[in-house]
């Protein structure tokens, strides 16, 4: 995995960002989209996994089988049993409870970084596409500078400076992916802006801002949703890796990456301690990737036929 994440993000960006300009995206109506959705296994599987994860995270606030932080040294490193389905860790904490609680951190990490990347990247991209010229150049070159800097490295540096924290790490990841969002937004907005219906709108006197709101945004929304979903999985990869390295969420808060990091010391005693959170991370990343791919299949008209 490259939690540098760049390749994943590129995998995300490349097919849609600077693709052939032309057909503005998303001619599908919702009903059509829904009919297609039922035939997209990616979307169904991905959607289900993501839904379960979100539910797990919400559930963990009200109920977990045991207190995820509750230490019980007398049952440390006990294997799976009817009382503790996935066993206990080195402090005797219930692994299942910690897994459920860990979903919170994962979702939180994704939300923070996608929000940062989107809330800054989308307006920047729209602005660049709309204005063009020097401003466009300035925005996109600044983006290039940020994009060249590996995201994980930025997170490590910030952790070194400010101490380990989920939020700090996610801000670093979010900032690192602003250019990705900006590029995708700009590329697809340019395609829409060059279409004749935008020219027609200008010919009946719609100002630039109204054109963005009425024509550009509705037409690129689908692409941005896809982008957000795929970026979510990149953020999860980055966050769990930082936690694993001990640079993210500090203990004792339950987080999947950190659970693996600790379990590594007990591989001889109970290798499954590392496997359970590993599966959780795997499913989460897979879920968001499939969701993104599925949404793209359903929403991006260029991939139809």
């Amino acid at each position: 995995m490259s939690i540098g994440g760049d390749p994943v993000a590129a995998a995300v960006a490349a097919p849609i960002s600077d693709g052939p300009a032309g057909a503005p995206a998303g001619t599908a109506r919702l009903s059509v989209a829904w009919r297609r959705a039922r035939h997209s296994p990616s979307l169904l599987i991905g959607g289900t996994i993501v839904a379960i994860m979100v539910l797990m995270a919400i559930l963990s606030f009200v109920w977990t089988p045991y207190n995820p932080l509750g230490i019980a040294p007398q049952i440390a490193l006990h294997g799976p049993s009817s009382a503790h389905l996935l066993g206990t860790d080195q402090y005797g904490r219930d692994v299942l409870s910690r897994l459920i609680a860990g979903a919170r951190i994962t979702i939180y990490a994704g939300v923070v970084s996608v929000l940062i990347a989107g809330l800054i990247g989308i307006p920047a991209g729209l602005f660049a596409a709309q204005r063009g010229g020097l401003l466009d150049e300035a925005i996109m070159r600044t983006g290039d500078v940020i994009y060249g800097f590996p995201a994980l490295l930025a997170a490590i540096t910030l952790s070194a400076a400010l101490g380990a924290s989920t939020t700090v790490a996610m801000i670093a990841i979010g900032i690192a992916y602003i250019p990705v969002f900006a590029r995708v937004t700009r590329g697809s907005a340019l395609a829409v802006l060059s279409s004749d219906f935008v020219l027609a709108a200008r010919a009946y006197g719609r100002r630039p801002f109204a054109v963005l709101r009425r024509h550009v945004l509705p037409n690129i929304a689908a692409i941005l949703i896809v982008q957000a979903s795929l970026l979510f999985s990149v953020a999860i990869l980055a966050e769990t890796a930082l936690d694993f390295l001990g640079l993210g969420t500090p203990p004792p808060t339950a987080s999947w990456g950190q659970m693996i990091g600790t379990a590594q010391n007990y591989l001889a005693e109970d290798p499954m301690l590392a496997v359970w959170p590993g599966i959780a991370i795997f499913l989460a990343v897979l879920g968001f990737n499939l969701l993104g791919d599925g949404l793209r299949e359903v929403l991006d008209p260029r991939l139809r036929q």
């Binding site: 057909a23 503005p24 027609a200 709108a201 719609r206």
Partner: protein, 280 residues
């Protein structure tokens, strides 16, 4: 005509009616600051009289679409100016163009890309009315659909639910919304199937009469221009090579390029003549 617009008094002595829309010495250079840009139009003068039907013909690279955008004040000429009823409109900020926008509208070539795929037909037709305060959309939208021969129920549908010809009707209805005096049509039938083309031509011809439109018809198709327009402007590489009345130009083209263009039009039963004879 609406007198709220700054319409200059027509010089009383003038025998020739003042043009409703005119380009004066217009040039357009794209990109490049140090003279490296592409020259799309060079020193073009076009004068369109009220009620005229003017065809602007040329091949790719002739600058005809650029001229259309300049006449629409969608782009600013590098030199020269566009005047509407004597008032300069080129280079004006958008807020000062509202009355111009109401009076000059445009139809584009590709009915796929000229309608927003995310909007229902009702909204597509209502948008110009909203943007220009040009009437109540609840009464105007059905009227517009009637005018272009589409059922009123079309309003609920999206563009992709129509065929090419029907979409072009929608685009025409949108342009008619603000009750324009001038309609600029940029290759409006070129992307259509042959069997549908005649319908749209008939529709345009009928609407010119019904709405007393001045028509600026931009096309590469000599036959269609001949059918629709009383005057012709022939563009070649950004310059006007010939202009005059349709019958005259088609019967006795004076410029070599016009002759080549006419000779190249395929006609039933025989091969067209390539420029400069049989072999190039």
């Amino acid at each position: 005509m609406d007198s709220t617009d700054a319409v200059p008094a027509v010089p009383a002595a003038s025998a020739v009616p003042a043009p409703i829309l005119a380009a004066r010495g217009v040039s357009k250079v794209y990109g490049g600051q140090r003279g490296l840009g592409v020259r799309a139009l060079a020193d073009v003068d076009v004068s369109i009289a009220e009620g005229a039907t003017v065809g602007i013909v040329g091949e790719s690279g002739s600058g005809k679409s650029t001229l259309a955008r300049l006449l629409m004040a969608l782009e600013t000429p590098t030199t020269g100016e566009i005047r509407y009823r004597g008032e300069v409109v080129s280079g004006l900020p958008e807020r000062r163009l509202r009355s111009f926008r109401r009076r000059v509208q445009i139809v584009f070539q590709d009915p796929m890309s000229s309608l927003d795929p995310r909007m229902r037909v009702h909204d597509i037709l209502a948008e110009p009315l909203r943007a220009l305060d040009a009437g109540d959309e609840r009464t105007r939208v059905p009227e517009l659909l009637d005018a272009v021969g589409l059922p009123r129920t079309s309003a609920r549908l999206y563009p992709h639910e129509f065929s090419g010809g029907q979409r072009q009707r929608i685009a025409i209805a949108r342009a008619l919304g603000p009750m324009p005096e001038v309609l600029v049509a940029d290759e409006p039938v070129s992307a259509l199937d042959v069997s549908v083309r005649a319908q749209i031509l008939n529709l345009l011809k009928r609407l010119i009469g019904e709405f007393s439109l001045t028509l600026v018809f931009i096309s590469h198709d000599m036959a269609v221009v001949r059918h629709l327009c009383d005057e012709v402007v022939v563009l070649y590489r950004g310059e006007i090579v010939e202009t005059g009345e349709t019958d005259q130009i088609y019967a006795r083209p004076r410029h070599e390029y016009t002759r080549a263009l006419l000779a190249a039009v395929p006609a039933l039963g025989h091969l067209p003549t390539p420029p400069g004879g049989a072999a190039a």
